[in-house]
């Protein structure tokens, strides 16, 4: 964790991908509410028997699945790396911090 090596030297590039995915999901959210969804909230054309208003939302659901799966595959070996907490294991006592302020600390 704290002492471990940085998982990837190209951190800036990787960061950009996460930002892009986050923006994609913000847009996907906007796509299923006003003002974008009303453009597709009609009956025709019908897809697999469903009205467009329903098929559109189902498609958004499948797209959500596909993009996140793509991100996971892209992460490769890095996907299982625990986030670096920046805390040395023996600097902070575990039990002191659970459920409240650090009793030795500067908070009250």
């Amino acid at each position: 964790m704290g002492a471990g090596p940085r998982p990837n030297p190209r951190r800036a590039d990787r960061h950009g991908v996460y930002v892009a995915v986050a923006i994609f999901y913000a847009l996907l959210f906007l796509a299923v509410i006003w003002p974008v969804y009303p453009l597709f909230a009609r009956i025709e054309p019908r897809i697999l028997g469903m009205p467009l208003s329903m098929a559109y939302v189902v498609a958004a659901l499948l797209l959500s699945f596909a993009i996140l799966l793509g991100l996971y595959l892209w992460e490769g070996a890095g996907r299982g790396v625990e986030p670096d907490l920046g805390v040395e294991p023996d600097v902070v006592g575990t039990s002191d911090l659970v459920g409240g302020p650090d009793p030795r600390g500067d908070a009250g």
Binding site: W34, P35, G49, Y72, P83, A107
Partner: protein, 490 residues
């Protein structure tokens, strides 16, 4: 044998199976609070998937989903819409939550905020809000269970007895097995519900209309407004886009931070397991599609069913459809599974939160680990009994309370985002945000005329929350960088 008796026996068989699975699954956990609440952080993908899937398949989705499609048409698509993004935030902050939990021993959501903001007040407030938000939700699940029993046995098993039987089983396995009981019964119940949803969802439109396409053809001819977004409002007139959009938004904002699901992040065995659960989540939400088909199948074939939530049991038990009693029994069991798989997580979380987040902060260091586990179990029973009395005996109306629940829970979303993304947020800022957000939500619930455009009061609450949090945080000194570093990466 009488048809209702076959239905009843199939249902009882399902309940016994749930009980056996729930009791058998608890043996692996350690006899500690961490074992009872977080399953020793050992859950694999399959169980995680079904625990989160159960969040979609509540009694609301199983009875309310078809009810919405039946009476309000396209308005019901909001349930699908929020599932597109609902769990995605977990992919981004989930791994850090899990790592912090493992490092510092958290098992609840509020412990994270307590540590981040070095505050005992914040978790205590969150605990009270969480339990208040859980109760109406739990009551709804119990009413659903009682209702299903009553309808399919033609009133021979009254609602109070049906709810008592189903939740008696839930209490036993949650008490005995904790989160592992919740997880493994949800897996069994989830597989059951999936099979039933697709089976009935494709069979009923075929039987009543000759297929899904012809069914929508007929509705498009007779009642086209039903299929155009945003569907119909509760009064049967076209709904507003403000109300539809804010229903999606409030559900999506709240979804990733409901305390009883958030704390399941700590149960994941490792980070890939957690990420896979988030990725796979929409595949579970797809199972709402056939559930909505069932409601649409009733629109022209069974006009005038009141209340609309009765449409699914009405179709399933109708002579016109002519399902064999054994299948009706499976349906009844599936509806109970939907209710129980949501209710068990709520009960388990309510007990855990009340002890870990409220008591441990109001009276620190008064409980050892064994006492803590004993108190959580006791409170699971107390909250179960309380919800039962309020729901089934006092029969309190839930619509208003549920609205308030979602409004409260959504206030946790800005706090969660700030916790992991903004180094500058302070304890005073976090508190100010929660108070402003909660206050505005309550105010607009009391005076709905002030909420412009039919927009959900919780959305106004979130806006007030963000403004108050940012302004107060900027006006107060930042927290120690060395402390904040664990939460907000460089």
């Amino acid at each position: 044998m009488a048809a209702w008796l076959i239905v009843f026996l199939v249902t009882i068989g399902y309940l016994i199976a749930s009980l056996v699975i729930g009791l058998a699954s608890g043996g692996h956990a350690s006899k500690s609070t961490e074992g009872y609440v977080a399953g020793d952080r050992s859950l694999g993908f399959l169980v995680m998937y079904f625990i989160m899937g159960a969040s979609i398949f509540s009694a609301f989705a199983f009875l309310g989903g078809p009810g919405w499609a039946y009476s309000r048409g396209a308005a019901a698509f909001y349930i699908l819409a929020y599932a597109t993004v609902g769990l995605v935030p977990w992919y981004f902050f989930g791994p850090r939550v899990a790592a912090l939990g493992r490092r510092f021993g958290y098992v609840t959501q509020a412990e994270l905020f307590a540590h981040r903001f070095e505050s005992r007040a914040i978790p205590a407030i969150l605990a009270v809000l969480s339990v208040l938000a859980f109760l109406p939700y739990l009551m709804l699940q119990m009413e659903g269970a009682g209702y299903v029993f009553s309808v399919v046995t033609e009133g021979r098993v009254p609602e109070w007895a049906g709810a008592a039987i189903a939740y008696g089983v839930v209490l036993i396995y949650v008490f005995r097995s904790g989160v592992l009981g919740v997880g493994w019964t949800n897996t069994f119940q989830g597989i059951f519900m999936m099979a039933l949803a697709w089976g009935l969802g494709l069979y009923l439109p075929a039987k009543l209309h000759g297929g899904v396409g012809p069914m929508f053809d007929a509705i498009a001819r007779e009642l086209p407004d039903m299929l155009r977004g945003p569907g119909l409002g509760p009064d049967g007139k076209p709904w507003t886009w403000g109300a539809y959009s804010s229903a999606v938004a409030i559900s999506a904002l709240g979804f990733s931070v409901w305390p009883h699901y958030f704390m399941k992040i700590y149960t994941a065995r490792d980070i890939p397991t957690l990420k896979k659960t988030v990725i796979a989540y929409p595949t579970f939400a797809i199972f709402l599609v056939p559930i909505l088909f069932i409601g649409f199948a009733g629109v022209l074939a069974f006009p005038g069913v009141q209340p609309a939530d009765a449409i699914l049991p009405t179709i399933v038990t109708s002579a016109e459809v002519g399902l064999p009693p054994f299948i009706v029994g499976l349906f009844c069991a599936g509806a109970l599974a939907a209710s129980m798989s949501t209710g068990d997580a709520l009960l388990h979380a309510a007990g855990s939160v009340a002890v870990k987040d409220f008591w441990d902060n109001v009276r620190p260091d008064t409980l050892d680990d064994a006492a803590r586990r004993r108190w959580i179990r006791t409170l699971v029973v107390v909250f179960g009994a309380l919800a039962y009395l309020l729901a089934v005996v006092a029969r309190i109306s839930l619509v208003e309370l549920l609205l308030l629940s979602y409004g409260f829970i959504a206030q946790l979303f800005p706090l969660t985002v700030a916790t992991f993304m903004w180094r500058g947020v302070t304890r005073a800022g976090a508190l100010a945000g929660l108070i402003a957000g909660g206050g505005v939500t309550i105010l607009l619930n009391l005076a709905p005329g002030l909420a412009w455009g039919g927009i959900h009061p919780g959305i106004y609450g979130v806006v007030a929350n963000v403004v108050a949090m940012v302004l107060v945080s900027l006006a107060t000194p930042p927290m120690r960088p060395a402390h904040v570093r664990a939460f907000v990466p460089d």
